[in-house]
Amino acid sequence: MQNEIQFLLNEDVVKINNIDPNTTVLKYLRDLKNLRGTKEGCASGDCGACTAVTVEIVKGRLVYRSINTCIMFLYSLHGKQLITVEHLKKNNKLHPVQRSMIDHNGSQCGFCTPGFIMSMFSMFKNREQTSKKNIDRYLTGNLCRCTGYKPINLATKNMYSYGKSDHFYKNEKNILNKLKSINRQNIKIKYFNKEFFIPSNLIDLKENIKQYNNCKFISGGTDIALEVTKRRKDFESIIYLGNNKDLKYIKIVDKNIVIGAATPINDTLNILKKYYPSIAEMYFRFGSLQIRNVATIGGNISNASPIGDSAPALISLDSSLIIEGNKTRTVKLKNFFLSYKKTLLKNNEFIKEIIIPIDKKSIFKCYKISKRFDDDISSVFMAINLKLYNNLINKIAITYGGMAATPKSAPNTEKFLKRKTFSYKNIILAKQYLERDFKPLTDMRASKNYRKIISQNLLEKFYLELTNNKKITVN
């Protein structure tokens, strides 16, 4: 057990343990290190002004991820390199992404610029092609209120023409060695009455949990950090799951996709895309890249938000969870949610794994409706899993988000449709059963009436798309 964390702040090794565990990376940079190039625009993960890049070793290589420093806890940097905007320029030479930005007039007031630069930098380091899709994927997590984005878009499109190499490539070996030398043991930091525990494996995690009577688990922290930055809360004991090698994986076991609960969503997409392209497509709109680079499916399910996107999709796919704590148990996700923000999880229990059955014969689709297409919480989310037998509905699972206090399936509608012909008429008839299944509410995202109509129209859309073998979409 160690009592300090270690990371690289740009190129320098930093060891710390004398800072409040509730401190965010952004606060650390700005207030404690006076590195004020990284900006705060919202402190809620929505604007990207605070973007920096973390570097980790994955399969022997350095992987660069853009992250929101405003909602990342400082101690979760353990074992990583953190690159901030100040570090891009070296020996008075600007980085290619910086030069491109200047040449394309990508900054006006300049407040969003460091964040954009870091997002572009992560794209550059991952050697991504500058297709429209990729540019949007990397940059929709950054807001700019001045430029209207076009010059930033062009700057990104043309960034490689300012050079394909940079001082980071030349220094990779050195960084690899420095990162490798960081100890991967368990870490426990005590700060007055507060504690931050980083277990490195499952056994030690389970062993240590017993000491706590009420600890807070953090995976990506994208949800929980808002308690600190917005609701001014202080957590006393935090267990950080994000460095736990036994909780970070995605693989195929038998006929299931199994995902370690602390795996960042972004790391699951390649495999999910293969089996359930619709869910992968949805995840590309989940938050922003900065969010997906750290946010986990485990966290998304555990926070039990009625508008969380993972749960309805995974319920329709008949997924299960492995829950650990005092003892191990497996539960169906559809039984996991009890009431608003309440789940089956008891104190000191955590999700270890998510199991998604693979069924190649079923048709799965999900739909996310939001005010803004990208990086917006759903007003209504629908996921359908359908199995036809000679055009008869053999099996159907319909689950909605945003329609009730929890993610919820539509039992009356499912029952009506089961064993009926998969026809336009029946789908239209099924709409009225949705009204029995849900009594949605009005909030700032949508009115109850809109939610009602959308929930019905999505059903119709699903039918039309399937029978015409063509997407009906503006996007």
Binding site: T38, G41, S44, C47, C112, T113, L143, R145, G148, Y450
Partner: protein, 759 residues
């Protein structure tokens, strides 16, 4: 681009671009605070209307790290930061007029501790029923300012004599500024009762005056410095005063530097936004769609105080014609008082709302007559020398040419046919297309504000230090003015040092607003430069016995007769001969005048023109929509810096796009704002801009008036161009409906679009 002077054709990047991209550009919160600095937070009302029964701050004071609190009682001067009218109290201890109204403030060792402490206040209220919405305010005759009646010609008669008339209503939504840098101020006590304030504000002079009045001190004891701000858009024209005042009050009380930085959510709760408007109209028009008369009511939500609402609503009156000649207008403008934050300046200042209204009327006329709306728009455009409803002769009209050019360059007519074909063969996805023109008058409509000052020093090595009253907020003001200076002296731009705008160097300035900052401050700088040049001219005549009339500043040299001397040498020589090398400058906009009782006259020096074509696609099952293509042609006169101007056009358009599509300010019936964070209030992101986004500067553009380089303002006008997107959406809806009556509530969110289809 033709250029009157080729120095301006340089596509210079923003003066701070290199600092922006390296994280080295300092904003107020980045300035290293002195070591003994305290950090502040505000305690504000959680009800929208009522009175305070009891305030108990004991737990706040006891909270960790707290140095102390202040309330109304700690204000030595006036408890008001209203810029024009009184009514913006800093702290209330009795009446509560809106959700988010400040009641007290705390200073503590860190921002986090101050914010935590604030939550420990125990405040009891006696609640009253608030007035939140415009219609409620109209019913209850709740107004913050006198109702304005305006008329020109005889609208009633014109409508009566028209072949057709339409009656209708419409509304526009509010808009949060969402400048990326939130409100922040740092106040540092100095000698002799003085205070140095760093504030993120568009208006340093007013900050100085207001803080002085709040502290009951002379103006000359307060210095305000602003190097740059991270976006303003009108949201820091007056809304910043409250926070500068609170940090100053705390700094005074504890005799320590105090920084007050608002959390984003708090910023969105506490500060005013764009006025939302309700319109009710009757319009008379001929068979071919020519408007004869308009009888209209404009009502806006001003919030709990007047702030700038008078000028904003006046500008709405001035822009109700947008780019159209309307011979007879009768108009009533209600300025509604509601229990919400005080709505304020926002890029366009009432004009976008009014333009939206008349465009909607024209759109409805087109639907009624069943003709493509572009024809009705074209038919009603101003012709040369028409006189506006407020009595100003339009001498610089180029809207017809711009409109025609854009119809052609955008292939509007061909695309219309393609869209009709597409819509016939697609049941659920519909496309829409629209062109809208825009005209925008330049000058503050409050005449006395149209003045600016400058201060120019040339040091003996030939380097120049430049100051003026304008604030750099991303619009490229400093870059343009540095260009103007470099151009006048014929030297390179890197000889010019741009420094923070501050009240010690240039006094009594106006806000950086109304798009006129380059016009006004640039001219003031030129005035200062010309005074120095006069000195140098006499010096050259005397010293070199030169009796010619022409001296040229070019390529770092001064040419006179057959001689030349380098700029640096000349300056040094001038110094040795005791020639003054510093000067102040001043400028006031000529020609403008308004009769305050009728609003008629010439409120503007000139107009900017532009037009845009938008093509969209909507999903009739969900209301989701996508902007596919935009073509813009904008008149910026003879541009000083085309890259900066294009940036303003694109940025303004996208800001307007947000206002009319995804940005929805939502209020609960209890007066609490529901959208107070970028997680619920959605401004456009990169994927929302059209794949085809063609922005062109009108290449015949030239200002008839004597502005610098014959350029025109560019800040606000392009925002109006986004109105085309809204009407393209409305047009798409028309293909999905059987009847031709389309009501689409703005903003055109998926929900509002679907409602409109199903109505």
């Amino acid at each position: 681009m033709k250029n009157l002077d080729n120095l301006f054709s340089e596509k210079l990047p923003h003066e701070s671009a290199e600092k922006h991209v390296s994280g080295l550009a300092k904003y107020t919160d980045d300035i290293l605070e002195p070591t003994n600095t305290l950090y502040a937070a505000i305690g504000w009302s959680t009800v929208a209307k009522g009175s305070i029964v009891k305030i108990d701050l004991r737990d706040v004071i006891k909270s960790a790290g707290v140095c102390g609190v202040i309330t109304e009682r700690d204000i030595p001067g006036i408890n008001d930061v209203g810029p024009v009218f009184k009514g913006d109290v800093i702290f209330s201890s009795k009446k509560i007029k809106y959700f988010g109204q400040p009641i007290f403030a705390v200073a503590a060792d860190t921002t986090e501790l101050a914010r935590k402490a604030v939550l420990k206040a125990k405040i009891q209220y006696k609640k009253e029923r608030p007035i939140i919405r415009i219609k409620e305010a109209l019913e209850k005759k709740s107004y913050i300012l006198k109702t304005r009646k305006f008329s020109n010609g005889n609208a009633r008669k014109a409508i009566k004599n028209s072949q057709h008339k339409l009656i209708g209503e419409s509304q526009t939504g509010g808009q949060d500024h969402l400048y990326l840098e939130g409100q922040v101020a740092l106040a540092i006590p100095k000698e002799d009762n003085g205070l140095l304030i760093y504030s993120s504000t568009q208006h340093p002079s007013k900050t100085q005056q207001i803080v002085a009045k709040v502290l009951n001190q002379n103006f000359n004891t307060i210095d305000v410095h602003v190097r740059r701000i991270g976006g303003g858009f009108g949201g820091k024209e007056t809304q910043s005063f409250m926070f500068a005042a609170i940090s100053s009050l705390l700094a005074k009380k504890f005799n320590k530097p105090v920084k007050l930085r608002l959390d984003r959510d708090e910023d969105m709760i506490l500060t005013g936004k764009r006025h939302d408007f309700y319109f009710k109209y009757e319009v008379g028009f001929s068979d071919n769609g020519k408007i004869n008369g308009l009888d209209i009511i404009l009502a806006s939500r001003c919030g709990h105080s007047a702030d700038l609402s008078e000028a904003i609503n006046d500008r709405a009156i001035y822009n109700i014609d947008n780019a159209y000649y309307i011979p007879n207008v009768k108009l009533v403008s209600y300025r509604c008082k509601t229990n919400t934050v005080s709505n304020t300046a926002f890029r366009g200042f009432g004009a976008p709302q009014a333009s939206f209204c008349i465009e909607n009327i024209i759109d409805n006329i087109s639907n009624f007559l069943k003709v493509d709306a572009y024809k009705i728009r074209y038919l009603n455009l101003y012709q040369k020398n028409n006189i506006t409803h407020f009595g100003m002769k339009i001498k610089d009209n180029v809207i017809n040419d711009i409109f025609n050019k854009l119809i052609n360059s955008s292939n509007y007519k061909k695309r219309r046919k393609e869209i009709e074909k597409f819509n016939q063969s697609n049941k659920y996805i519909k496309k829409g297309l629209a062109i809208t023109p825009a005209k925008f008058g330049i000058s503050f409509t409050t005449t006395h504000l149209n003045q600016g000052g400058a201060l120019v020093h040339i040091y003996t090595d030939g380097s120049i230090h430049l100051n003026h009253g304008g604030v750099e907020m991303g619009q490229g003001l400093m870059t343009k003015i540095a260009q103007i200076t470099a151009n006048s002296f014929g030297i390179k731009i890197n000889n010019i040092k741009i420094t923070s705008t501050n009240t010690e160097k240039v006094a009594n300035t106006s806000a950086s607003a109304a798009s006129a900052s380059t016009d006004i401050n640039g001219a003031a700088v030129l005035n200062a430069i010309n005074k120095i040049k006069d000195n140098l001219f006499s010096f050259i005549q005397n010293h070199f016995k030169f009796n010619g009339k022409i001296i040229k500043y070019k390529n770092n040299n001064i040419y006179f007769g057959k001689n030349k001397i380098t700029f640096k040498k000349l300056i040094n020589l001038a110094y040795l001969n005791r020639i003054p090398l510093s000067s102040s400058g001043f400028y006031k906009t000529p020609k403008i005048h308004v009769d305050k009782s009728t609003l008629k006259g010439r409120p503007f020096l000139y107009f900017c023109y532009g037009a845009a074509v938008s093509e969209v696609m909507i999903d009739t099952l969900t209301g989701e929509n996508k902007l596919l293509k935009v073509d813009i042609l904008q008149d910026v006169g003879n541009s000083i810096n085309p890259s900066i101007d294009i940036g303003q056009i694109e940025g303004g358009f996208v800001q307007g796009l947000g206002w009319l599509t995804s940005e929805e300010v939502s209020w609960g019936n209890d007066g609490k704002i529901l959208t107070f964070s970028p997680s619920t209030y959605k401004i456009p992101v990169m994927n929302d801009i059209p794949k085809n986004f063609n922005v062109k500067i009108y290449n015949k553009g030239i200002n008839n008036e004597n502005t610098i380089n014959k350029s025109k303002a560019v800040g606000e006008p392009p925002l109006l161009l986004a109105i085309s997107t809204y009407f393209a959406i409305k047009n798409a809806i028309s293909y999905a409906k059987k009847n031709n009556k389309i009501n689409l509530t703005a903003p055109a969110t998926p929900e509002n679009i679907l409602n409109s289809i199903n109505k």
